[in-house]
Each structure stands twice: as structure tokens, then as C-alpha cells.
Amino acid sequence: MNVFLFELKSIRKSLITWSLSISAFLVFYLSFFPLMESSGGSFDQIMANFPPEFTAFFGMSPELPISTIMGYFALTFGIVQIPLAIQASNYGFHILSVEERELTADFLFSKPIKRSTILYSKLGAITISLTVVNVLLFISTLICLTLFRAGTTVDYLAVVTVLSSIFFFQLFFVGVGMVISVSLKKIPSVLSFSMALSLGMYMASSLDTMMSMQIMKYVSPFSMFSPTRILIDGHLNLISLLICIVVIFGTILTSYFLYLKRNIASL
């Protein structure tokens, strides 16, 4: 319990910063919808003039025009996914490597505590943090959509389906970050690793949509949980979800065994 509280305390600041700025970003963008709506579809026309590959790159689809609140939300949420991915990868890369990077490993691991307990405590702290982000995003999204829908209809069930994907989406990055961090000897800089992972996945997903390759929906969470796709279909892609869950469990289990057998590098 002491390690759990300690970890929670140590990520408290980053949690507050991330969750508030992500929610603020979402609120800020959604608040512009009434303006967009009042322009009476002229934006749609502008968008229609762009080549379809270009609009697809940004996650837009002619099936879901941005002059509708659902289309506008899909576009906004697609961008919000980027900081969500970076935040989650940060946790993943950070949490099991921090002691060796900041040279506090000798302190923690020479205490009477099992490594598995340390790992559970850290995972627990991350889960709490991700839950906080989720709750904040749920609340701010639902309030904003209701306030700024400008008289148009909101498909709340579809919105909740999109929001429910955040947890899987983030755990994917946590898991992959963790397994990479325990496979390597040292993670010199967490941010460069997490940027590479999350932006890499984002680019891969965007290119995939642009070229209509349909591969990334089995690889990149940005495609697995593309808000445009979910809002059009009205449900999550089951195969994508299943693959994501397998990746989450697989990476966490692998991290567990590698972490337990790890030789803690001396200073």
C-alpha cells in the first residue's frame, strides 16, 4: 500500500496537468461548433474541394460531415487521442524504469517487498490515473455536446461508445511502453520514447486511412478506435477490440516476468 500511495503521489502533478489540459482542449474545440453550424455547411463545401485522401488523413469522412455535431466531435476526439496516447505511453515507459534512471533502485529493491507487489502497486497507481482522465473526459464531453450542439441531435449512445474506448486505447500504450522499457537496459529519456510510439502509431494510422489499406485497424489504436468509424458504425470493431485486449494482457504479463527476473543495474 505504501508504494501505491507513493507512486500515486509522484504522478499526481503530471496527472493533474494532463487531464486538465486534455479536457480543456476538448471543451475549447467543441465550443466552436455553434459557429461552424451557423455557417450553414460552407465548411463542408470547402472540405469537399480537398482531395479525399487529404481529409481522410485527418480522420474526416464524407459520411460524417463536420457541419453535424457528430462529425465535428469525431474530428475533435481524433485530435484529443494524440495527447491521450502520449500521456499513456509516458506512464508505460516511465513506471518500471524510473528507479534505474533516477538511481533510486537500490533503495526500493533492498526493502522487504516483493517485486510483484511493486509492480501491482505501480499498475494500480496508473489505473487510478487513467480512470481520473476517463471520468473527466466523459463529463466534459457530455456536458459540452449538450451545451454546444446548437439544436442538432446528439447520438449519446454512440458518443459513450467512443468514450468507452479511451481506457483500452490508453492501456494499449501503457502495456507496449512497459514491455519496451523492461526489455531494454535503460530508458534514457521517457518523452522521446513515448513521442515516437504515439506519433508513430498516429502517422501509421493516418497514412493507412489515406491510402485505404485497412491494416492498421489491427495494429494501431488510432485506427482500432477511430472515432469517425465508431460513430458511423455505431459500435466498436470487435476484432480490433479483441486484438487490443490481447496486446494489453500480453504486454503486461511479459513485463511482469521480465521485471521479476531483471538484474538491477548498479550505479
Binding site: E102, F107, S110, K261, I264, S266
Partner: protein, 290 residues
């Protein structure tokens, strides 16, 4: 009773040898010295005891239990002071110590304050503002606050001024009198000489000797320094003489055996000066180091 047993402990980092076939045991209540030059395998051996690293083969048994399998139980009664001290920089000293204490099944508050007073450590400061020596003091308090049965010290004195070093040694001796077993790793022989009962010498990852310090020093070896003229005649190369170093004007050697042999030999010579003293451990062990 053997409180720590190394059973053919071997650790390789890939192809690089950390330590090989370490095989000895430490009795309860001992202050046991562990000396060797830098990179000899001292820290590797210690880190295996704490299951910070896993042995390639062999094992360490502490309190009769395997150090890897029962690591977390064993560490309940181990206090460890690492050679390099790094802690959560942004914490206050007292917060770190209380976090450290929270791992043990006893209340350590009183002991924290006692130890901080002895070591003259300001508990309210932030760790990042402390000097190296003060961080070392945090390490000492952190390692002793739960009154451990085994105290493992890895080069503990670097960064401490001589006065603090003495206070620290007194502290260790007191803990030892209360029943703690001390495993003291160092490359400074004089401090090992001051504290320890027995000592193991490690070199290139292997134990090259285990000696009783008292037996090793006073009783056996004498160091002779003889100054005169025309001394380079080879008469000193007799049984019991080691480390012989002779020139025309000065001869030095260690002697182990009946001193009358050497005294009667000296009586036949005309000397300017003679010095007979106890050698320091450095001098006795120097050949292990070279």
C-alpha cells in the same frame, strides 16, 4: 551459527565475470570485512545477497533461507547502505526516512530521531539541497532505522569527514554489541582493520583468502627496517622472511616465526638504526592487490 552462507556463488554479466565460486560463511554477531580493489566483485556479491541481481549459479543463504526465494522476508531484517547514495531528490529527509520505515513491521520514529541526532542530520531539508556527505548520513539513518539483524555496508565512509566516520564506526560497534551482524565492504584496509574480526579478500571476482584479523596482525608478522652500510649480502633471506627488499643502505622485510633468529642475526651486524613494528594490513595484503 552461520547467518550468511555463500554457496559457490557465481555471477556473469553476459561474458563478463562479476564473481565466481564465492564460497564462505559468516557467523552471527561478527563484523566481517570484505576487501578488494575497485571492480573486484564486492558490489556484485552484495547485490546478490539483496536479490537486486540474480546469480548465474550457486546461491546465498541468509537466516537459513535462500536469498532469492525468500528475499522479501529476509530483507525485513537487513539494513543496506549502498556505496553511491541517490534518493528521491524532491523529498524532504524526514519524508524519505518515513517512507523507508513504512516497509518495516515496526515503528521506527524514535530511532530515526536518535540516529539523526547522532549523525547531526537536519531532517527538515530537501534531499536535493544536501551535500554528498549529508546524503551519506541519510543513507546511514535509512539503513539502520529498523534495527536490522544484518547490516550490509558497501564502501560506507566515502564522503564522511573523519569525525563523522568515527561516530559512524561507534554506531556500528554499538549495533554489533546489540547483536547485529555486520558485513563491511571496503577497499580501505585501515577501516576494516579498525572494525572487523575476520576479513575476506576478493580479487578478480574470486575469494583469494579469508583471515582472522588478530591472528593476521599482532601475533605473527613483524616488519623490520634495518639501516646501515653494506647490507646487501643476502643474509636476511632466511626462513620466515617475506617481502624482502634490500639495498646497500636499507633492508626491509616481514618476518613470521621466532624473533630470536633475526635478533641474533642483527647482533652480528653494525647498524645505524633498526625499526621493528607491526605491519599495517595494507602492507600484509598488498600482494593480493598487485
Amino acid at each position: 551459527m552461520n547467518i550468511i552462507e555463500f554457496n559457490h556463488l557465481t555471477k556473469y554479466y553476459g561474458d563478463v565475470k562479476g564473481c565466481e565460486d564465492i564460497n564462505f560463511s559468516i557467523q552471527e554477531g561478527e563484523i566481517f570485512g570484505f576487501i578488494g580493489p575497485n571492480g573486484a566483485g564486492k558490489s556484485t556479491t552484495i547485490r546478490t545477497m539483496l536479490s537486486l541481481i540474480y546469480p548465474t549459479s550457486g546461491s546465498v543463504t541468509i537466516f537459513g533461507k535462500d536469498a532469492i526465494e525468500f528475499g522479501h522476508e529476509i530483507r525485513q531484517d537487513i539494513g543496506y547502505l549502498p556505496s553511491e547514495i541517490f534518493y528521491y531528490d524532491k523529498m524532504k529527509v524526514i519524508d524519505l526516512l518515513q517512507y523507508s520505515a513504512s516497509f518495516y513491521k515496526k515503528n521506527c520514529d524514535q530511532r530515526i530521531h536518535e540516529l539523526a541526532e547522532i549523525m547531526e542530520l537536519d531532517l527538515s531539508r530537501k534531499i536535493q539541497d544536501l551535500s554528498y556527505g549529508n546524503k551519506k548520513k541519510v543513507g546511514i539513518v535509512q539503513g539502520l532505522l529498523h534495527s536490522p539483524k544484518i547490516i550490509i555496508l558497501d564502501e560506507p565512509t566515502s564522503g564522511l569527514d573523519p569525525l563523522m566516520q568515527q561516530k559512524f564506526f561507534q554506531l556500528i560497534v554499538e549495533e554489533n554489541k546489540k547483536g547485529a551482524t555486520v558485513f563491511f565492504s571496503s577497499h580501505i584496509l585501515s577501516e576494516v582493520q579498525q572494525l572487523c574480526n575476520r576479513v575476506a579478500i576478493i580479487k578478480n571476482g574470486e575469494i583469494v583468502g579469508i583471515q582472522d584479523i588478530k591472528e593476521l596482525r599482532g601475533d605473527t608478522y613483524k616488519k623490520f627496517t634495518i639501516i646501515g652500510t653494506n647490507l646487501n649480502h643476502g643474509k636476511f633471506d632466511v626462513e620466515g622472511v617475506t617481502n624482502l627488499n634490500s639495498s646497500d643502505h636499507k633492508v626491509t622485510f616481514f618476518f613470521k616465526g621466532n624473533v630470536n633468529h633475526i635478533v641474533s642475526l642483527l647482533a652480528t651486524l653494525t647498524l645505524d638504526d633498526v625499526l621493528i613494528e607491526e605491519p599495517t594490513l595494507e602492507e600484509i595484503f598488498m600482494h593480493y592487490y598487485e
